[in-house]
């Protein structure tokens, strides 16, 4: 008998006493916590991101290229990784050498790059979390992992949800998902929180207000 059959057989015998009828799972918990306007939800995202030591910037769509260029310059970044589908105009004003995200690049090559700029799939206000799903404007997992500086652009308000349940609804489980809440951290030494272990030690999040620009354009 294979181990598969052996384990399944044991499980079935172990459950012989269990009645077959099932009551539905009671989901009495909330879909979101508190009553907030859209602007308040974005504000909460900014607060919670900052609370876990992400550096938060806010700007309009028109100001985004200048904002990103300024951030890279302030960091002194010489090279920046760029996912294949990143909006080209975003880095139009940056002075930094742009390195495309390629399947063939080795982890050692990625390790030599200063910064990475990506978009995101969704951001969760209540927990201060940004979620990447490997889409064309976010690139493969490794590019937001190996370089020490990650800049993530969140389109507000349309990419912002209040809560974890709302985020899961929007995400496709078939995609490789990475949920990021603040920079890398550890609490393994006397349970003191220290930022920066293996992941990027600096996380900067740009909340770009797409609504404001839409109004300007219309």
């Amino acid at each position: 008998m294979s181990s598969r059959e052996r384990i399944l057989g044991r499980v079935r015998r172990a459950l012989a006493d269990v009645p077959s009828e099932d009551t539905p799972i009671e989901r009495a918990y909330l879909r979101e916590h508190g009553d907030r306007s859209v602007e308040e939800t974005v504000e909460l995202l900014a607060e919670n991101l900052a609370d876990y030591r992400a550096i938060v910037h806010r700007c309009t769509a028109a100001d985004l290229p200048a904002t990103l260029a300024g951030m890279l310059a302030a960091r002194g970044a010489k090279t920046v990784l760029v996912p294949p589908g990143l909006e080209r105009s975003w880095l139009a004003e940056a002075d930094t050498e742009q390195v495309p995200d390629r399947v063939e690049s080795t982890p050692h090559e990625l390790d030599r790059i200063d910064s990475v700029v990506t978009a995101c799939a969704v951001a969760v206000a209540e927990t201060g979390t940004i979620v990447l799903d490997g889409g064309p404007d976010q690139g493969r997992r490794r590019i937001t992992l190996v370089p020490d500086h990650h800049i993530c652009v969140v389109r507000v308000p349309d990419q912002v949800v209040s809560s974890v349940p709302q985020a899961l609804e929007r995400l496709d489980p078939a995609r490789p998902l990475t949920w990021i809440s603040g920079p890398s951290a550890t609490s393994d030494i006397e349970l003191d929180r220290v930022e920066g272990v293996h992941g990027p030690r600096t996380l900067e999040v740009v909340l770009v207000d797409t609504q404001a620009s839409a109004e300007v354009n219309s």
Partner: protein, 497 residues
């Protein structure tokens, strides 16, 4: 479970040693009190905690009731996404499967994400025996590995070490395993973390094989979830070409939606954060689904039983399989705080370990038979448990099983457990009590006799009761039995003292 703890003394002896270690007690007290206060704050932020807890309990119970069905469904989903599924009935089989998989890649080293399941089966030692070096990459696991030590906490395995001890371990041992610690390393946590970063980065960047566990497996999508803080998990799950995940069969949730409960309760219960810094989910291989060249090319899932189906057979004890390994119960436990994790003689210490280890391993050894007694039954563990495991109920149930014996399931077979040795006096006392309560005349005579001779009673018990009365006062026997008083005063209606 693993042979790591073979020869461990039973809990009272091991705990006695730990309680006399002042450094250890100080480290533990500091750590558990810090996280306790933080957790309370994190939990109070969500107004629907009770509802989340209830839903978590129900989802896990539902899964366990239909575990066979969900295991088969999970297997189908993982295979459809390009993964390979292996089944391991016990630790040896799991170790053998993983060793073969690593050997097939031609590699002789692997990087590991912190995983309780691989600790449980003693995977590192098994790999070592075959000439494969396994590098632990979680900071706390690294401290334990470099210190040739054993983990003492589910979440923070090096909780028993303070920063000075960690500095010494790094300075002394890092060069043995790779990049040495920087010159003049101090004991500030930031510097220690930096030393670990530099030491491990060279391993991450060259690793071809990663080994992990998983916090959750989603049956309907075949998705695995790893929740972590440092980014070492992301490194091991992303950079290697081959990923091997060893996961207990109880870690399933039926649907993607179910994660909405646990991704809220797990971080707040464990590290006391709104959300842990990193959560990674993956479904099959990079070519199997929507991966688009992302992550490992080969993915192997090893489904581990190792006593879980036996635990499932126990109607009271099976609730221990709801555990999501948050470790909140350790941090509130007055016994854990003083005895430390090593005293439990298992990779699962604290209250959850006291009910999980004797069920997974059986109660044949002295340490396992002593674990259900490693508790004051204060109930704090049940209060904080995010999936509402009634740990005190299971402890009492296991105590009864150890004293009385009875039918249990071991390795899938029904066996009858003999009453444990060393409980003969307790059993005799209980039998005598049962007889006395069933014979009111004898009880009355006995009580009167006890009252009249009360001046002659010794202050401590003789024989097997000696240990008990060594640390406790014997209750004083009243001058008149209650039932005599009741009769004499007509139920207290007439005056009488």
């Amino acid at each position: 479970m693993s042979g790591t703890f073979v020869g461990m003394p039973a809990f009272p002896e091991a705990a006695h040693e730990a309680v006399n270690n002042r450094t250890l007690r100080g480290n533990l007290r500091h750590a558990t009190h810090t996280i306790r206060a933080k957790r309370e704050k994190a939990v109070s932020e969500v107004s629907d905690w009770a509802e989340l807890r209830e839903a978590g309990k129900q989802i896990k119970d539902h899964t366990l009731r239909h575990l066979d069905r969900y295991l088969v469904q999970l297997e189908e989903s993982v295979v459809a996404a390009g993964g390979t599924v292996h089944w391991a009935a016990d630790a040896d089989e799991a170790n053998e499967i993983v060793t073969k998989l690593v050997q097939m890649t031609g590699e002789s080293e692997v990087v590991k994400v912190k995983s309780m399941a691989t600790q449980e089966i003693g995977l590192n030692e098994a790999l070592e025996a075959e000439g494969i070096r396994a590098y632990e990459t979680d900071l706390a696991e690294l401290i334990v590995q470099l210190g040739k030590d054993r983990p003492s906490h589910i979440l923070v395995p090096a909780i028993h070490r303070n920063r000075g001890e960690i500095r010494d371990i790094f300075a002394r041992e890092m060069s043995e395993w790779g990049r040495p610690a920087p010159e003049g390393l101090t004991d500030t946590p930031a510097e220690l973390a930096e030393a670990a970063r530099l030491h491990l980065r060279e391993k991450f960047l060259r690793a071809k094989v990663g080994i992990s566990g998983a916090n959750f497996m989603v049956a309907d999508t075949g998705t695995l979830v790893v929740v972590e803080s440092e980014g070492n998990g992301r490194m091991c799950l992303t950079l290697p070409e081959t990923l091997i995940s060893v996961v207990g069969i109880e870690k399933i949730v039926p649907t993607w939606q179910d994660l909405e409960v646990f991704l809220q309760t797990l971080p707040r219960s464990s590290t006391a954060e709104r959300m842990n810094p990193y959560t990674s989910t993956w479904t099959g291989t990079r070519d199997g689904r929507a991966g688009e060249g992302d992550g490992p090319q080969n993915f192997h899932l090893v489904l581990l039983d190792n006593g879980r189906s036996d635990t499932l057979a126990d109607e009271v004890g099976r609730q221990a399989l709801r555990c999501i390994r948050c470790s909140a119960c350790l941090n509130v436990c007055p016994v854990y705080e003083r005895a430390g994790g090593h005293a439990y003689g298992s990779v699962y210490p604290g209250p959850i370990g006291a009910i999980l280890s004797p069920q997974l391993r059986g109660t044949a050894s002295e340490i396992d038979a002593s674990l259900p007694y490693a508790s004051s039954l204060c109930g704090a563990c049940y209060e904080v448990c995010p999936v509402a495991i009634d740990i005190p109920e299971v402890l009492v149930h296991l105590r009864e099983r150890i004293v009385e014996g009875g039918p249990v399931v071991r390795e899938g077979n029904k066996v009858v457990l003999k009453p444990a040795k060393g409980h003969a006096a307790e059993r005799a006392a209980m039998r005598a009590a049962r007889w006395a309560f069933a014979h009111p005349g004898a009880l009355r005579t006995g009580q009167r006799l006890a009252s009249r001779t009360r001046r002659l009673h010794p202050r401590s018990l003789p024989g097997p009761g000696k240990a008990w009365s060594g640390t406790r006062d014997l209750p004083a026997v009243p001058a008149e039995p209650f039932r005599d008083w009741w009769q004499r005063t007509n139920g207290g209606k007439e005056s009488g003292k």
